[in-house]
Symmetry: C2
């Protein structure tokens, strides 16, 4: 697991450098939105999704520098979704990663625009020749990211999360919600490595299956953190789902069963990696890490 | 000009059909955001931007059905920007095209998500093989749209429009603001036709120059409508820029000089079309129409 800590740390630093390089630098009145985009992306975070892209790409001998642009685009989409989800009209959150959210640090209009800017920038990056020499691969990446982010993915998931029906979801309903809201981007983050590496269909399917189990385990662990961790540990308000009367995995299953289910999902996720042998150890350790993380 | 009216009308109908076909159809709780996306796109509008794509594509013998997917993506970006610009944190508008704005018809969270969904969907469409068989052309379209929509284009323009500095902009400042906020997408709409048609650099440059003049003329005409037309004619509140103390072309130049400047820009726009001969008559008439439109 020390190898994983090292890898997570060094990849997170590389992703931050890549984001810093790719995000626009503009002065003047319109510079405010760029400042907010940079604040949203450069203030830290685990960088789990871009790490999954880099680690998946390594399975196909894609070197890190070639995977980092795609990884940064994935992280921009993640950060855009946090900025918009935190808005007063949505989850109305004041803190994110222990810092004021974008609309608290800047203002609401700037936060909306910064999210729009990050969403757009991610597609700009994927469409540039520097991302991959083969335009077919760039196109597949663009299409995959758009599917993960759109109405059938993250946008649809957030809509369900805000809906009247949200409180009464059963386990199947929450699982579907999670798969859209957070799972879709995690699945794309993993598959992107395979796309970059020109992997065969079987490998792509295996990586998606790994990512699907991982994403669900991640969400269950998130629910567990929400009831177990203090706000300080988590770097954001905790206990809010229960307060808001939202059905959660932990609420429906209880802490003990939820913990067991998360561990089962980790085993299942790792099983999908058999075809890759030792080469996939980093992804296996990542799955373990995801359910045992402190925040 | 009768030819133009006919062409505008039939293209608008074709664009609406194309949008209807391309927009997702989903039921259940997440269906609400799709309903809002459809409401934002299918409630009418002049469809000027997609018309420019179709008309520009015709210069290079690209048949309408092949241009309509790109035209629809352009219109989705236009509609997303209207939905977000109308939000309470931005322009706080209740009416758009004579109908309640998306956040008034649905709610604020749904309006934010519907905008995000439209922005994402536009990129999904451009990246699909059905848009053009050549992945290089799909990539160029994606990149061009992202540049027009991003922090250097529409997002940056809206940020300036919301800024403290907005009230004191001089003519150069307003011209730059307009070029980002509305001009960038108009330029892309025209250039997209040339990209689809595999046009040479000179033709692309000429079309962009036409679009730049047209976009500026369009904005001046918009300012003139804002002071001259009633709210009923315009289908949205008028006189709001002056009320908000925002510098406008009309405010800085006066109505008479603004009208003359708009006409000069139309002449200049048409001049850039010389190389295309009679084939560009539709685009010439469009420029005339833009400064003489009733709403």
């Amino acid at each position: 697991m020390t190898d994983l800590s090292e890898a997570l740390k060094s990849t997170a630093a590389a992703v931050t450098r890549q984001l810093d390089e790719l995000l626009p630098q503009i002065g003047g009145p319109r510079g405010r939105v760029v400042e907010a985009m940079r604040y949203a992306c450069l203030a830290g975070g685990k960088r789990l999704r871009p790490f999954l892209t880099v680690a998946s790409a390594r399975l196909f001998d894609v070197r890190d520098p070639r995977a980092l642009r795609v990884a940064a685009a994935v992280e921009m989409i993640h950060c855009y979704s946090l900025v918009h989800d935190d808005l007063p009209a949505m989850d109305d959150s004041d803190l994110r990663r222990g810092q004021p959210t974008v609309h608290r640090k800047f203002d609401e209009a700037t936060a909306i625009l910064a999210g729009d800017g990050l969403l757009t920038e991610a597609f700009a990056i994927l469409s540039e020749p520097a991302t991959h020499k083969d335009p077919l691969i760039r196109g597949e990446l663009t299409r995959g990211l758009a599917e993960a982010a759109g109405a059938r993915g993250m946008v649809g998931g957030q809509q369900v999360d805000m809906s009247h029906e949200r409180a009464e979801l059963d386990l199947d309903g929450i699982t579907e919600l999670q798969r859209m809201k957070t799972g879709a981007l995690i699945e794309f983050a993993c598959e992107a490595g395979a796309i970059l590496g020109g992997a065969d269909t079987e490998s792509r399917t295996a990586l998606r299956a790994y990512a699907r189990d991982l994403g669900l385990a991640f969400q269950i662990a998130d629910d567990l953190l929400d009831v177990e961790a203090s706000s300080e540990q988590a770097g954001k308000p905790t206990g809010r789902d229960a307060e808001a009367g939202k059905a959660t995995f932990v609420g429906l299953m209880g802490q003990k069963r939820a913990r067991i289910r998360a561990e089962e999902l980790v085993d299942s996720a790792c099983g999908h990696l058999d075809r890759f042998g030792d080469k996939a150890d980093l992804l296996r350790h990542t799955a373990q890490f995801v359910v045992n993380r402190p925040s």
